[in-house]
Symmetry: C2
Subunit: 328 residues, 2 copies
């Protein structure tokens, strides 16, 4: 009995084991083509001659980071790109390229790989980036590893975790808590059973979005520190606060549940603040800056001097939920 | 019953599930430390201001690319780095950084991860490169994905697959056939049972080596095309010949089995030419150049005009073995 079960509508056509490595590569590069692909390694063109390369990697394991009965192949590809590109944006850099390593069982439908590559192609295209290389291999489980490469131009420093300063405003671009609410809905109802009015939450989980260029905009506008809420709002801001040697206080009004999160909370009998404070994977950019929030960002709190206890507070109190994603 | 079985001598201590994500990361970065690691993404320092970034990725799956009863954790880490850095060298670039994504079952001994990271640290150190980032996650199988990044300085073009020209000499740096012979020995005898005099072949398989800088040396000396024998000598040279629109003829004397390969052939009752012509994973650099071979390289054949049949011949005849590695 195979370890990985593909939904029925993807089955019936050829499998990757039947068409073989070179055809699988052709299917992928058809959906996400790049003139830089096809040699031993890809040589990147930088837009500006003095730009520095920025690199990050994330691995997605079927059954752990996505489920084949919840997400379409396109959504899995989209999510893999966005969560990696968010880490490039969070340095204030521009994502320019991605590499895909894929381990898939031989019975994997070619249609799955085509959809996955289509989702990747769509998102890299949105960023004016390219899928420049990769590797495919057979394996018992379905594992994607995406590496994102970015370009950091100009003389301003990158946006690191350790450059938040007392007196700055904490700003955010993107929604907070949607992805965790979507996951909770999927766990209860499955994809097909989620009430129609709550589908935006499910979509935020299965295929998160992040507008290209927000990291660069914040950097140009004077932001100094940045991260994204991959693991959870409090967890990620705590890491930033600790590395910067500061305290962050969040104003609860600015992140309070909207109608959709409140409705999901009522439907599931759960407190939506848990999703907001401890849910990750929204890939919302979190930054610190003096003065006005950069375009597209909103103020959610303040940076103050460090205290001995909590690195991050909400309305100056210990947050009600503070855990986050655990890899093991 | 777990999918992945670790050798007994690695067991007994704590597992990654027991110590958790942050401790696992600490274990890895202790063995392969870098000041560039620890933020959302790594910003690379280039030695020269006008260098371009070069990127490649390879995935290694337990049971397929390595076996825990044949290779030590250190060797697995070493191999993962060398096979990726070989692809950077094959562009004529200098490897400067690696990223590691690792999916491991929760019962994985911490000692395994420590050894793996030590092997990675050893090899990146040899190249004056750094492990600048990564991702770890639990999963049912043991999967490593390494991305290598290089720096290509100066004004000479990179060494691509499509720039071999008739009249050039084909040159090689490194051994050919050793890795495949080592694999055949492991399949027959297991690691402990391999006759002592043949252990260099097994080591070539489990922990291939490639001297840093040979790709840059060849590029500086005027080489134009380059690859490495990842998949098999004939397969890899055929790809280079096809992309360049040329034919390559190898002189059999220059690649003939040495005493060790002959002894392994006799021991196993196999023809060592199969390992030489169709075995991959030596990560021997294969290049084309006008005039004398670059330092460290030896001539193994010639580039001629294309023919309609074989892209690569040996002594002007169809090679006896021409297959190579198949991913599915």
């Amino acid at each position: 009995m195979p370890n990985v079960t593909f939904p029925e509508h993807l089955q019936g056509g050829p499998t990757v084991g039947e068409i073989g490595e070179f055809e699988v590569i052709r299917v992928i590069t058809e959906q996400a083509s790049s003139a830089l692909n096809g040699d031993d390694a890809a040589v990147l063109r930088h837009a500006s001659p003095n730009s520095r390369a920025v690199a990050t990697t994330d691995m997605l394991v079927e059954g752990r980071h996505f489920q084949l009965d919840w997400s379409t192949p396109e959504e899995i590809g989209q999510k893999a790109i966005v969560q990696n590109f968010a880490d490039i944006e969070a340095m204030g850099a521009r994502p320019i390229a991605a590499l895909l390593a894929l381990s898939a069982p031989t019975h994997t439908p070619v249609e799955f790989v085509r959809g996955l590559a289509r989702g990747i192609g769509q998102r890299v295209e949105e960023y004016s980036a390219e899928l420049v290389g990769g590797d495919i291999t057979s394996g018992t489980s379905l594992v994607l590893s995406v590496t994102a490469l970015g370009s950091l131009g100009g003389s301003l420093p990158e946006l690191t975790l350790n450059r938040a300063r007392p007196g700055q405003v904490v700003v955010a671009h993107g929604r907070i808590g949607y992805s965790a609410a979507g996951l909770a809905l999927l766990q209860r109802f499955g994809r097909a059973g989620v009430p129609a009015e709550l589908t935006p939450l499910v979509e935020a989980h299965c295929a998160p979005r992040l507008n290209p260029g927000r990291g660069m905009i914040a950097r140009a506008a004077g932001a100094t520190a940045m991260t994204d809420n991959s693991d959870g709002l409090i967890v990620d801001l705590s890491q930033l606060a600790r590395k910067s040697g500061v305290r962050i206080d969040i104003d609860s009004d600015t992140i309070a549940p909207d109608d959709l999160l409140s409705a999901a909370g009522e439907t599931l009998g759960r407190d939506p603040w848990e999703w907001i404070l401890s849910g990750g994977e929204d890939h919302t950019l979190l930054s610190t800056t003096f003065g006005e929030p950069p375009s597209g960002f909103r103020a959610i709190g303040h940076v103050t001097k460090p205290r001995l206890d909590d690195p991050v507070t909400v309305d100056k109190k210990t947050p009600a939920y503070a855990s986050g994603w655990q890899s093991f």
